[in-house]
């Protein structure tokens, strides 16, 4: 049995340990050795107002993004899972098309739509709705829109499996007892999919935490998030020890979240 264990489980684990875990330990080492040995960089990271400010902003943006993404995903998943065949096919296309398209194309699309001379502002001005263009990208709004757009499809999958697992008979029973649509939805259906909601929220939040590409393209530089701060500390004005410490803090936060998620939702909704 040991032989099969090595043969089946070994390759991937050895592969990831060599390519990922050990190099990552190198970053951990910076955080406690550069510029001098000790935990000074962690103290610096947790007291430096630049770092803490960026961490708070990141948490706030990620929380906003998570709530919006999961709510939006819930609405479209409901139709995908429970709608008629045409509605299902259409909603499936709407979920899968963006899912398969690169984050770069999507960010580019948002830039074309939302910038001051973008399609939306141009139309709104031509129709006389706006007199001055409304700033919708190169700010936090743009970042949130881009991130929500990227993450909705990821939230759909755990929600869909939770909704598919809902026992139809319970819903019919509730209707049989005279409950209206609204009441069935809020008091029966939603509670039965809580696991999926938590799973989706966890997945979205964790993915959002380390976002780099979308904020870089849509944020216009004024909403620095933690991923960009790490980049800054490694590349722009180098302080590898501090960059390493922030990375380790971020990884530890994600690990805690995943552990908590396992406890609550028993795996991310799969």
């Amino acid at each position: 049995m040991i032989r099969y264990r090595l043969l089946l489980l070994g390759p991937l684990l050895v592969f990831l340990a060599a390519t990922y875990l050990i190099p990552f330990l190198g970053i951990v080492r910076w955080s406690v050795t550069l510029p001098e040995p000790g935990l000074g960089q962690y103290r610096a990271a947790l007291t430096d107002p630049l770092v803490t400010g960026v961490i708070w902003r990141t948490l706030r943006i990620c929380a906003t993004v998570t709530v919006i993404s999961v709510a939006a995903a819930y609405a479209i998943t409901l139709v995908w899972v429970r709608g008629g065949s045409v509605a299902r096919a259409l909603s499936e296309l709407c979920i899968l098309i963006p899912f398969w398209i690169s984050v770069l194309t999507r960010a580019f699309g948002w830039l074309s739509l939302l910038s001051n001379r973008g399609l939306l502002n141009t139309w709104a001005q031509q129709l006389g709705i706006l007199s001055e263009p409304l700033a919708m990208v190169r700010n936090e709004f743009g970042v949130v829109v881009g991130m929500v757009h990227y993450l909705i499809p990821f939230a759909v999958f755990p929600l869909a499996s939770a909704m598919r697992a809902v026992d139809e008979r319970v819903l019919l029973a509730a209707r049989g007892m005279g409950a209206g649509r609204v009441r069935i939805f809020w008091q029966v259906f939603v509670p039965m999919t809580t696991g999926g909601i938590l799973g989706a929220a966890l997945l979205v939040f964790v993915f959002a935490l380390g976002f780099f590409v979308t904020p870089a393209l849509l944020g216009g530089g004024n909403s620095v998030m933690v991923a960009e701060l790490i980049w800054l500390r490694i590349f722009q004005s180098p302080n590898w020890g501090l960059g390493g410490a922030i990375s380790v803090i971020l990884m530890a936060g994600i690990a805690l979240l995943m552990l908590a998620g396992r406890r609550f939702a028993k795996g991310p909704g799969q």
């Binding site: 001051n116 216009g220 590349f235 004005s237 180098p238 590898w240």
Partner: protein, 371 residues
């Protein structure tokens, strides 16, 4: 392991390799035998690492094709060495990472002289070999231990000419004045030039700027922050901020000014007044894969005034070699940061100040703009 004997053997080997008497593989095998270990030994010998390419790292955008047209192609013809363009931006940390990796893949970088000096003092850059690079082809006072002056650029004000055609902004004070010049602004994300702009706007005379009063500059910027729509990190971003109409005025690199003017059909204008002029330079990464000599030759080849004129025409880089001035078409002088009438109204950035103060100042700056 590098006893004099082995070293001598290695030299003989590499000599024969150069003369083509033995194949590269024989050479590697011979070396491995001599040094006992194959992999580590090979790395220690520049001859084995010598390749037929140089990687020139610039800041992206239109710079890549321009460098290739002006310097790369001619260098290939003259020496048979291909110069590849990497636009990923040679930031201090990226160069550090290259050197620390033990096997850099970059050769020549388009770096700020002050960061080349700072890195050079940490042993990460090759000193410029002034027997190859000709110091007399610089403007006096430009040319450093670890980097060679190759061009000039400036942080200048660009503005929406459809709005401010009749009374364009004339000073940094105008840039910071949203009453007289309504609309949003865009600034440079990595601080350089922005402190000077804020202090000039706050009434500090140009000759009293250095050492910079950072507190005063940051107060000014913090108070102004609400009017800034974006902080660009690269030239193309500054272009799109203006072209997309996201701001009515921006401080941009003068190298982008001509492009923006053309792309907007004249809707975006720019002024040299109180521009903050800075030198651009080439530097060589320590232990670069293409070899120090090839890299120095490349830098020397870039001193040719005719080639610098190409860079001026394609990227509006002010020529480092004063001999190029005479070759520039007079009509284009308005795009040239070192044309006498433009140079006179600008203020040079103080490289020694940046060398010692840039890192901490940038941290403070980022704290303020991202708060």
């Amino acid at each position: 392991m590098n006893g004099p004997f082995q070293r001598d053997q290695v030299e003989i080997l590499s000599e024969r390799l150069k003369r083509g008497q033995i194949s590269r593989r024989d050479f590697a095998t011979g070396l491995a035998l001599l040094l006992g270990t194959s992999a580590i030994g090979l790395r220690a010998t520049p001859a084995a690492a010598q390749s037929k390419d140089l990687v020139f790292v610039n800041w992206g955008g239109d710079a890549g094709p321009a460098y290739d047209a002006a310097y790369g192609k001619a260098f290939l013809e003259a020496t048979g060495i291909t110069v590849k363009q990497d636009g990923s931006g040679p930031t201090e940390g990226a160069i550090t990472a290259q050197v620390e990796s033990g096997k850099p893949s970059w050769d020549v970088v388009d770096a700020d002289p002050f960061s080349a000096e700072a890195l050079g003092k940490k042993g990460m850059m090759e000193p410029i070999d002034y027997t190859v690079v000709d110091k007399s082809k610089f403007r006096p006072g430009f040319g450093w231990e670890y980097s060679a002056s190759t061009y000039f650029y400036s942080y200048i004000i660009a503005y929406d000419a459809t709005k401010f055609k009749d009374s364009p902004p004339k000073s940094m004070a105008d840039f910071f004045d949203v009453e007289k010049f309504p609309g949003k602004r865009a600034m440079y994300k990595w601080g350089a030039g922005m402190w000077e702009a804020a202090l000039l706007a706050d009434g500090v005379p140009a000759d009293k700027l250095y050492p910079l009063d950072l507190k005063r500059a940051h107060d000014k910027i913090a108070a102004f922050k609400g009017n800034v729509v974006g902080y660009w990190g690269g030239g193309a971003e500054s272009q799109s901020l203006l072209l997309n109409g996201d701001c009515s005025m921006a401080i941009i690199w003068s190298t982008r000014a001509k492009l923006i003017e053309q792309d907007s059909g004249g809707d975006i204008g720019f002024v040299w007044n109180e521009g903050l002029i800075a030198p651009g330079a080439m530097a060589v990464v320590k232990n670069n894969p293409g070899g120090k000599d090839a890299a120095m030759q490349f830098i020397a080849s870039s001193q040719d005034p005719a080639k610098q004129v190409v860079m001026f025409e394609m990227l509006a880089q002010g020529p480092a070699n004063p001999a190029a001035d005479a070759l520039l078409p007079a009509a284009d002088a308005k795009y040239n940061p070192v044309a006498p009438e433009n140079f006179a109204v600008q203020i040079p950035l103080d490289m020694p100040w940046y060398e010692t103060n840039y890192g901490p100042a940038l941290d403070e700056f980022l704290k303020i703009i991202s708060a």
